[in-house]
Symmetry: D2
Subunit: 278 residues, 4 copies
């Protein structure tokens, strides 16, 4: 298993008129397959930061107060990723009776993934496909082929059903549709936020994981960047759980830089190869 | 603090044509304030049962396979409840900066509680009320006064927004509206399923908890049964997390009996008194 | 052009507790291609009936008051239909600049046909098909192939978008989806209510018309009965305009018989042949 | 009855890359109470214009083709308005049995006014108010008090139900909510587009009419301009019927000027006085 090193930087500048609390989820997650080092979070002007671990997955969050004026939050770290590369043939869909308890909530519908409404649609379109990695790949491909990536066409309240009708969206919408379709077929699926090498334009990214063969396998229906270059920030039921910034009050984002670079220029994993970093 | 003893019985009979997996959430939760004894789960005809603890709260679930024909699942137990009765004056709404990390997900919108759409509505109607127990009580009262309890008027896909428009629903809808309004105001809130003494007609019940003064305080916008007689089965973001039965396949519910009785005939706690059993 | 004779009967029985007004749209429309004779409307117990012509198309309606107790409304008539059979090759989609003014409102979205939300979906699925009769036929076929006819799966508030997601419905839902897709492509389309020979089970029926080559051409995405046996009651933007019965108050429908018979047993028009009776 | 003279000007500039058809509804309507004179429509560069009368109300529309480049459409006219000022006491709500046939379609739900979903909400909030002008005034006032006028908070697909939840919108949204509530109570109501003296910032305006005492009475839930200074362009079931511009293709609106001036500086009609110009 080769290790991949990815350098992460993000910088957000907010301007507020009154003291405003912000919850940031921009720090990369520490997992058995994703080691984080050289991590620095700076806030300028400096303020105390409350470091949290949230939810069943321990998503990391930083809570801090923005004082009137402009505040810049800079995060940088180095991620060393050793993904698991299970054989596609092993990535079967587990029977419901085999699913571990902690995975079951990822079958439930969530705010932006109304899987309860899509049973027949999912069965009609994907019910005939052999269960397993290939089926989720085909769902991801269907989403890629049937949506247009159109910034501004959706908003923070847009759901998988909205997007299935309008057929446009951005990365979070692509992930929501794929997750809703997976869950409607009985495949546990969840939303992942992160950094992505070679994402263009550079930004935070949203993708998804499906539970196959006992592992959480990464998929990206947008195909905007190679999965091998993804660094996980957090995971959740949908984008509601891993918003990059949650503001308690009014603030204006006046600057944003996001960067994920791979100093070794490692070639990406061959297309169609499954990968897990959870 | 006096202990209250409540006897629980539920019996569900399902008829299936083909082997069908079912996930039941009917067993009462064990918490520091809710001791469960004499617990019996019988399945007739007998089959192996897989006992699970699900989600961050450890909701209990039983997974079993129904064989063709009719299967009856009987559950009985005795709950000994020692609720905490915090003084209403102490039940303040915590500032966002004070909320513990594990509580934060209960501020997020969920499938049936689209709090992200209700910010102005909640602020207009409840923003002027002093923060704390009284404000959540008034939300609960508003839901009681503005909805009509109408079995059959909503379905499994009905959401808080649907119900806010149509103004009818059942216990789960009442809870969803109240939860969505709390979250829209920055008050963590979650859905609780359970048994309720003197619920008429007898059935499982759905109610909600708001996080006040560091405790999860019980509320029931339906007012159909005294809160002091509630026995918690499980809690979650909304009804999606604690469905009494989840069927993987087709089954017909041919019989249902639910009973919660209080052998001591303890009088209920005075109205307006806060109570926590989480 | 051969004339076709169709005998119509319908009988509705309502039970009310208090005087209740009802608006019925069950009388067949008189058009240049649909002559109505031997028309009888009886109300038992008898009451005065207000005969109306409603909307730009002159849909016929009967307004009457139901007195406490049971009231039966019987309608019978003979329709002589001489449809126009334009050549499919002539049934082109008119350019927007060629559409007559009275047709333009049938491009607007309506309550149950949210064509404004379906532009990309319609273009992706039907934009590549040659414009004209064949394209609308393919839309109708797509609706037939992708929906399941499932009584009870939709209700009076279900819209084309709801049905596109859940993929089940009844005749009105099939028509609504097809109409919404046509309008999204710039093809004027409207809802038609009527009687249908050989509809099984017998009932009123809902279908649609698209404006092609200067005529309103009939389509039925349900394929439940031959178009040649349709008798028009009324047309409108969607089912809201031609409800068979609108009740101002509470009433229970206690009996319903609908019959359309073709005494000559005329064979239906060959499949794929266009037909207009507007 | 005093006549009021209002001068109208509007100028729209569109830029297109390919020939694009546009349907404009900017010309003031001619009615018994609204005489139009000195009407000029100029298109620069000049092109042929197709003048249409659309729908049951004869809404006027101009259909023309924009050629690549920039096109400016200027409209000016003088409206002489002699409103009817019925006594409020005469403006009763007609019983359903008294409503003329041509008014009945304005009881139906429409794309942006889902009155079928709001029966209980409307009855709970306005059912206890005496029927007639005062009740519609209170509906209009409720809309004014409960919505915030927030440009950009809604879009072309926003409906009365959406707006009732989010509680923000612009003039069309205010009208849609009021119309939906009226219809839900059995009061025919329709959308009116027009010019408005002293509207700030100047723009086209949207308001509504309710059918009371046999007349279509004007209301404006936004209170942004005096009703006495309204000049009607057209009316319809909702904004879908009277969009100022409908584009068949892509175009960019690069300039827009709308002006309605009252050279006599007539003071507005006293608040609370009913007025009909239909």
């Amino acid at each position: 298993m080769t290790e991949r090193i990815i350098n992460l930087h993000s910088e957000l500048t907010y301007s507020v008129h009154a003291p405003t609390t912000i919850l940031l989820k921009v720090a990369a997650m520490r997992t058995a397959r994703q080691a984080i080092s050289d991590e620095i979070l700076t806030v300028n002007p400096s303020t105390s930061v409350d470091y949290l671990q949230e939810g069943p997955l321990g998503n990391r969050a930083c809570r801090l107060s923005l004082q009137p004026g402009s505040t810049t939050i800079h995060y940088s770290a180095t991620a060393a990723i050793e993904p698991k590369h299970p054989s596609n043939a092993d990535l079967n869909e587990l029977d419901y009776t085999e699913l571990p308890a902690e995975v079951l909530p990822y079958l439930n519908p969530s705010r932006y993934c109304e899987s309860d409404k899509l049973g027949k649609f999912a069965a009609d379109n994907f019910g005939h496909i052999d269960r397993g990695f290939n089926r989720v790949s085909q769902i991801s491909e269907w989403v890629f082929n049937n949506l247009s990536y159109t910034p501004g066409s959706t908003g923070p309240s847009s759901t998988a059903c909205d997007v299935l009708l309008q057929r446009t969206g951005v990365c979070r919408d692509y992930a929501h549709v794929a997750i809703a379709l997976c869950r409607a077929l009985g495949i546990p699926a969840r939303y992942v936020s992160g950094y992505a090498v070679n994402l263009n334009p550079p930004d935070f990214h949203g993708f998804f994981e499906a539970y196959l063969g006992g592992d959480w396998i990464l998929f990206d229906a947008t195909r905007l960047a190679p999965i091998a270059g993804f660094v996980r920030i957090g995971a959740g039921r949908d984008a509601a759980d891993v918003a990059f910034a949650t503001l308690i009050g009014q603030a204006t984002l006046t600057g944003k830089t996001v960067q994920a670079t791979d100093p070794q220029l490692v070639t990406e994993s061959p297309s169609g190869e499954a990968l897990s970093t959870a």
